[in-house]
């Protein structure tokens, strides 16, 4: 704000929408598990829906296992980057609950459109976590069959996937696959920064007017790389949905139970033909934007510490311990499994074959083209002019 600002009125008007700075926490935020591990039985959201979960002990333990594994595999990938084995890595540290909660809320027939950070969602879809690592190691283009996994390819372009998702969702409607308990729904992941993109706003418009079976899942991790939320929006992000004519809700993105409950409801509404909704999962990116970023340049340590106290895994563990749902053996076993899986992941990353340079021609056209065939032949001759093997 300018120095010459008279203060008072303007400052007050601007400060009002900043819910995250309010001392009493975030009143609009749906929460079922407090940072201290206290269970809240059910919450009636500002949208009038009642949110609750009824998990078995086994399911609670399963969510904990997911959270720990996802974090450990993510840390392994970060280490691999630091050791020169991955070109770059976008860590999900701090956002595990938002991803596991929403990922586990998906049903088999639902389709997910990730950004490039949804390693946790990918894991919950039952996909081998090695799948996206070829992209970050630079040995493939990050391509896979989205239909096989019901999980679109990682999208690097910010917000672009929301339009793809909306189109996909409109297709579901046209195919008549909504309106029943077994209807299909689509979830599109994006971040707070993406909400400023035209693509995302266009997707809101289309999904709204076509009543597409969509869930817009915004992980508000407070920073668009280095740009804080204050410079992204003047109202809470979930409130934007009202302007597009569909409901929006904010959930504690560090609360895996609440995230699950809210996402489940939104997906069910979509599959029953009740149209799109926006979920703002209020969370925090504990690490850097990517391994190329230095967050200490734009945020202060005390802020990170404050969020550390809201850790998504610690609260589940506290709850499991207090409720005696899990014992020390269980936690040790989960840690051991995480260690094993991360070592396994490491070994497989190191064993990834470097692609032959000519394979770059393989996935341009499904049936090739004469021009590309010629280029490939030319390039092969060039490569053969070198001594030794390619690697």
């Amino acid at each position: 704000m300018a120095k010459g600002d008279p203060g008072g009125t303007t400052r007050g008007r601007r400060a009002a929408p900043r819910s995250r700075k309010s001392a009493a926490g975030d009143p609009e935020l749906v929460q079922l598990l407090t940072p201290e591990g206290e269970r809240i039985e059910s919450v009636t959201g500002p949208d009038g829906n009642e949110y609750r979960v009824d998990f078995t002990d086994e399911e609670y333990r399963g969510l904990y296992r997911d959270l720990v594994l996802v974090r450990k595999l993510d840390a392994e990938a970060t280490a691999l980057q630091r050791q020169g084995e991955l070109g770059i890595w976008a860590s999900l540290l701090g956002q595990e609950a938002a991803q596991v909660g929403s990922g586990r809320a998906l049903r088999t027939q639902d389709m997910a459109f990730p950004t490039y950070r949804e390693h946790g969602v990918l894991y919950c879809r039952g996909i081998d976590p090695i799948m996206p690592l070829g992209l970050f190691r630079g040995v493939d283009q990050g391509g896979w069959d989205p239909n096989e996994f019901k999980f679109n390819m990682y999208t690097i372009v910010i917000g672009a996937q929301t339009l793809h998702a909306t189109g996909y969702a409109m297709g579901i409607t046209m195919d008549g696959k909504t309106g029943t308990d077994d209807g299909e729904a689509v979830i599109a992941y994006f971040g707070d920064g993406a909400t400023s993109q035209g693509d995302v706003n266009e997707a809101f418009v289309w999904a709204g007017v076509f009543n597409a079976p969509m869930v817009f899942f915004c992980q508000n991790n407070q920073y668009a790389i280095s740009e804080p939320l204050e410079r992204q929006t003047r109202i809470p992000l979930y409130q934007r949905a009202a302007g597009f004519g569909f409901p929006g809700i904010r959930v504690d993105g560090n609360d895996v139970l609440a995230t699950y409950a809210v996402t489940r409801t939104a997906l069910d509404n979509a599959r029953h033909g009740q149209g799109p909704s926006l979920i703002e999962a209020y969370t925090y990116r504990m690490g850097a934007h990517t391994t190329s970023d230095d967050p200490t340049r734009y945020r202060i340590a005390s802020e990170v510490e404050a969020w550390q106290a809201k850790d998504p895994i610690a609260r589940v563990r506290a709850f499991l311990e207090k409720q005696q749902i899990a014992d020390a053996d269980f936690f040790a076993e989960v840690d051991e499994q995480a260690r094993r899986e991360s070592v396994h992941l490491r070994e497989r990353v190191l064993a990834m074959p470097n692609p032959e340079p000519v394979t770059m021609f393989d996935h341009v056209y499904p049936n090739g083209s004469p021009l590309l065939d010629e280029q490939r032949a030319q390039f092969s001759r060039y490569m053969e002019s070198f001594e030794g093997s390619a690697h």
């Binding site: 040995v139 280095s226 002019s385």
Partner: protein, 491 residues
Amino acid sequence: MSRIKEFNLPDLGEGLTEGEILSWLVKVGDTIELNQPIVEVETAKAAVEIPAKWAGQVQAIFHPEGTTVEVGTPIIAIDTDPGAGPLDAPSTTATPGGDLPTPSAASLAAVEVAPAEGMVEPGLIGGPAPGGRTAVLVGYGPRTTAAKRRPRKGGVPAQAATTPTPMPAATAPAPQPVAAPASAHDGQGAATTGGPVLAKPPVRKLAKDLGVDLRTLTGSGPLGSITREDVQQAATGAVVAAEPIRATSVATSAASFGADREQRIPVKGVRKLTAENMSRSAFTAPHVTEFLTVDVTRAMKALDRLRGRREWRDVRVSPLLLVAKAVLLAVKRHPMVNSTWAGDEIVVKEYVNLGIAAATERGLIVPNVKDAGRLSLRELADALNDLVQTAKSGRTSPADMSGGTLTITNVGVFGVDTGTPILPPGESAILAFGAVREMPWVHKGKVKARQVTTLGLSFDHRIIDGELGSKFLRDIGDFLADPEAALLAWT
């Protein structure tokens, strides 16, 4: 595989070239676990902790805190199996307070020729940036490392691919069929200018084609960028005098032949331009060449008298001057010869930019005398002398060489009688002027020793018919046979 593994500093953030060792979190002798933080490194983007790539015992630390290390350089050696007993080879363990050990020669050699394990072979994106500390927070910083390439087949020394200095073509060992010459100009060995070279891609392409090293130029464009003109100027030697001429000088220097007793000279620079122009012209303009042998004894005598005049005392007067004058006067009588075929029209020019083909150290160049038709004989003589001197000293500018309308090639200086010259592109006539010799000649009914030369005129038959070409050549010959009479008759 050896149990001692050396860890090379990786590129920690998309295109970084170096990092500063901030602090070591382990010391020699420490037992470490996989992924245990071992060192804190600050790059242009961030200060990060590097986790250990292997479990084991720290065997050696190669760089003290505070040093800046290039990406790909070994920074630590780890004994991955310390329980297996003493090492066979002498240990590289650092003595406390003593000198730091150095990485094994083998590992350095490995770094030299191959990318670090698992690293994608670095490309050569972006311009050279000495020092490497390009301030980029996120995203894709410029790649500043040179590509490490495998050697080419056919006995090329491995060193050739990474040698930063341009090699004299005379010792270039093998053909480089695709793309390889680019590396000599655009990327490596950037230390000469101390900054990235600014030039648009088409200009880079031009420089590559002309064999001009952009790093040797001073840009005259915005922000000191190198322009097309800068490159052309450099290619013709107008700016660079110190730079040894490559490729062209090879032809005359003692060639070094390979085992197959063949030498391969890259086609670039003036040679390439000449080749392009000549084949373009030869295969687009239908050439006709006519010859005329002339007794130029009178002209030679006239030249002598001219030299004897006081106002011409300091002027170098050569037969070329009279030939040029002859051509200019003949053009006035037959303007169509001074023209350009432009597809659907013929452009006839009132002005004559008279080109003079010159053999220079750099190769064949054709500077021209602008609007030569308006010059007096004295002005023409001065202009020709200037032009020749400039060409010989290698300072001819692109402007001097562009816009020629009609050309004389003075092959006589090489002692030959004549030739069938090829038209410079865009011109319709070119005259070859052969050697002036004493020959037996029928003069006034008797065979006498006379000064005789042979003219060869090539012309574009699309524009110039045999009749016009013959008349034009005849007029030139008439002038040279009797300049005074022609002057009186025509002017």
